[in-house]
Symmetry: C2
Subunit: 113 residues, 2 copies
């Protein structure tokens, strides 16, 4: 199990866990680009959007419900936030375990790959 | 029905429709920020991520399955692409009908709001 996100989900590696249920785990990005920068990750290892299947639709949708909840907890629901999922090298994907970025507040930096 | 995306979905307003099924419609952004810039939109009017409900999870996941298919058609699956959903003013949401941006290829510009 060499995937760092699988290790964080299992507790083998450290992470600032903000949310966890049977389907997804959310933790703070260790290299935040904004005041709020959270990663929402399926517990199941899916490499990228290129490898999703129709049966993953409810799981993918659930990432957004968790994002809505975490945006509320972070106090950014009304001001606004961005949700982003990067795929592939030119898309800026750095960990090959699908993840949804929740980004809000003052931007520290922004890499476009 | 004053929502421009509802009008494009219904055919009342023009759009370069790339994909359509019972749940979602996809069309090119009229102000593209990159070589590929497609909007994938639920046919049902949902204002933003702040207004999604648990029963919307399969629909939201379906947006990603359509994004995967359109990335393949655009020939960007392997190089990579970004999927982004903006919420609220500071999040850069400009049309109050939830939509997923598919962005790939050479960037023309990038607004962070």
């Amino acid at each position: 199990m060499s995937c760092i996100f699988c290790q964080i989900i299992s507790g083998e590696a450290k992470g600032t866990i903000l949310y966890r249920d049977d389907l997804v785990t959310a933790f703070r990005d260790i290299h935040p680009i904004a005041a709020t920068h959270i990663l929402i990750v399926p517990n199941k290892h899916i490499e990228s959007v290129n490898s999703i299947e129709p049966e993953d639709a409810p799981l993918l949708g659930h990432l957004f419900l968790v994002a809505k909840e975490l945006a509320a907890r972070e106090g950014v629901s009304e001001k606004g936030y961005r949700l982003m999922m990067n795929t592939g090298r030119d898309g800026g994907q750095t960990v090959l375990h699908l993840h949804l970025h929740l980004i809000a507040g003052k931007l520290a930096r922004f890499h476009l790959g």
